[in-house]
């Protein structure tokens, strides 16, 4: 029992322990300094984060790929016995979707025609970049995911990230090959949204749960439970009409049950959408003299209507398509 002689006696006070372990004390001070630094020097910290994400992305991807394969294999085994029922269900769904598709095409033709008649300017096309989720780092207090697409692929800070169910969140930092997505449920997430039906604008505020809160609603507004919540183009940050969730009753403020409840996305799409806000050098020539009179300016409207879905090219999808879920 030679090791008992080396056994250190339990220190009687915290101070004695710190004196015995000076390195630990110095490191604690360094950690506190780091905590203050990360709050004051956000740009440097963000650059460091992007560097770390890039450096770790290949290792994370190497881990994520086999786990995704394993998951798929496991799902294959579990669904093996229900293949017949699944096949029947998909047949029915396919029949329903075919009907819906023809209705959609008819609606799009109609909307295109109305837009042409009303001379509505063409909406900015939304293009997308696909990426794999390589890390689901949703710990306590912070809810983010890491995707395998970065600046090299055209990902920029502020872009919306969706999967097949709807909006997941937005990019908060883009490295060369990877980007970090702040999920809608994160404490720091603020997204301008619109409640369909009632046409009410609000801000969707993340609160660390699967049900973010709707805030800054107009006073006295009444919502219907189950109403769909989608993004708006306010702030020119997100493409309009991306599905987010449905309104549910909450304690106090109304809440939104997200379509993309935590962490089930494998592949995501980063949406590229940009509207340039412009300032004219001079006042328009044909400005009406009487401000009370409604202004109709035939030149202001774009003569070309929004192109229908089929002509938009492989990557480009009109924002209206996003609405269809």
């Amino acid at each position: 029992m030679a090791w008992t002689s080396r056994r250190r006696r339990s220190p009687s006070s915290v101070w004695a322990f710190i004196v015995q372990n000076p390195v630990l004390g110095v490191l604690v001070v360094a950690a506190v300094a780091l905590l203050f630094l990360s709050r004051s020097q956000e740009e440097i910290v963000q650059a460091a984060r992007s560097l770390f994400d890039d450096a770790s992305s290949s290792a994370l991807e190497a881990v994520a790929k086999p786990t995704a394969e394993g998951k798929r294999w496991l799902e294959g085994v579990t669904t093996f016995f229900s293949t017949y029922e699944e096949n029947q269900r998909l047949r029915d769904e396919n029949a329903r979707l075919r009907t819906a598709q023809s209705e959609l095409a008819e609606m799009q033709r109609k909307v295109g025609r109305y837009e042409q008649l009303l001379k509505i300017p063409a909406e900015s096309p939304v293009t997308s970049i696909a990426g794999r989720v390589i890390a689901d780092t949703s710990g306590p207090f912070v809810r983010t995911i890491l995707v395998s697409a970065g600046r090299d692929q055209g990902v920029e800070k502020g872009q919306a990230v969706v999967d097949d169910r709807g909006l997941l969140g937005r990019i908060i930092g883009a490295g060369k090959r990877s980007a970090r997505v702040l999920l809608l449920s994160d404490l720091n997430s603020r997204i301008p949204v619109i409640v369909e039906g009632a046409n009410l604008k609000a801000i969707l505020v993340g609160d660390n749960s699967d049900r973010p809160t709707l805030e800054y609603l107009p006073p006295g507004s009444r919502l219907v439970a189950g109403a769909r919540v989608v993004t708006t183009a306010d702030g020119a940050a997100l493409p309009p009409g991306v599905a987010i969730g449905i309104v549910v009753k909450g304690e106090g403020s109304p809440k939104v049950q997200l379509f993309t409840s935590e962490g089930r996305a494998d592949f995501v799409r980063v949406l590229h959408y940009r509207i340039e806000n412009d300032v004219d050098e001079e006042a328009p020539q044909s400005a009406p003299t009487d401000p009370a009179k409604p202004r109709i300016d035939p030149k202001a409207a774009t003569p070309k209507p929004a192109s229908p879905a089929g002509n938009a090219g492989p990557g480009a999808r009109p924002a209206t398509l996003m609405r269809f879920r």
């Binding site: 030679a2 090791w3 080396r6 056994r7 250190r8 006696r9 339990s10 220190p11 322990f17 372990n21 390195v23 630990l24 490191l27 604690v28 360094a30 950690a31 506190v32 300094a33 780091l34 905590l35 203050f36 630094l37 990360s38 709050r39 910290v45 460091a48 984060r49 770390f52 994400d53 770790s56 290792a59 994370l60 881990v63 994520a64 786990t67 995704a68 998951k71 989720v133 390589i134 890390a135 689901d136 780092t137 949703s138 710990g139 306590p140 207090f141 912070v142 983010t144 995911i145 908060i172 970090r180 404490l187 660390n208 749960s209 409840s261 935590e262 962490g263 089930r264 996305a265 494998d266």
Partner: protein, 177 residues
């Protein structure tokens, strides 16, 4: 000259040897953030880094010195996108607390160490909750950290066994190193 090279080689080997616990922890941390989505994300992933910090503070602090705990904390902060220094501070505290109480925890056999981890995890969760509210400047639900601590305590024996294999491969020196 040859002697110096030999010395350097030995030093390098020792360095690699000593870094094995740190590397094992990094690997497990990466596995923990892999998009597995077991149980559809209903259960929080365990705090692998805390398990590692506690295990090495108990069974061989020489293999995980304070600077390594600092590096683990910083990696966790970068990995999950927390404010830098947040988990560094918490893990350093857990490490120091475990070191100061290891004689007490060691006194009990087997289940005593597990109980020790439960105490450390509970204190760590409470501190994380308080520090979180201080850093984010708003009320936070204690459920998140609480459930993570609970999951960590439940899976501790499995990971401790894994780390014990690593430790046995490093040395067969007696328990308290």
């Amino acid at each position: 000259m040859v002697e110096y090279l030999q010395l350097g080689y030995v030093w390098l080997l020792q360095f690699v040897w000593r870094a094995i616990p740190l590397v094992a922890t990094f690997l497990l941390m990466m596995l923990a953030v892999a998009p597995l989505n077991l149980l559809q994300g209903w259960v929080t992933a365990p705090d692998i880094a805390l398990i590692s910090v506690f295990f090495w503070a108990m069974h061989g602090p020489a293999f995980l010195p304070p600077w390594a705990v600092f590096v683990i904390g910083l990696t966790e902060d970068f990995l999950i996108g927390a404010p830098l220094g947040f988990w560094v501070l918490l893990y350093l505290f857990a490490y120091g607390f475990t070191l100061s109480q290891r004689v007490f925890f060691k006194g009990r056999t087997g289940i005593g160490v597990w109980l020790g981890f439960a105490i450390v995890a509970a204190i760590n969760a409470a501190l994380a909750w308080l520090l979180g509210m201080l850093v984010f400047e708003r009320w936070l639900s204690p459920m998140e950290v609480g459930s993570q601590a609970l999951v960590s305590v439940l899976v501790y024996p499995a990971f401790a066994r894994l780390f014990a294999i690593v430790r046995r491969s490093l040395t067969n020196a007696p328990e308290s190193l």
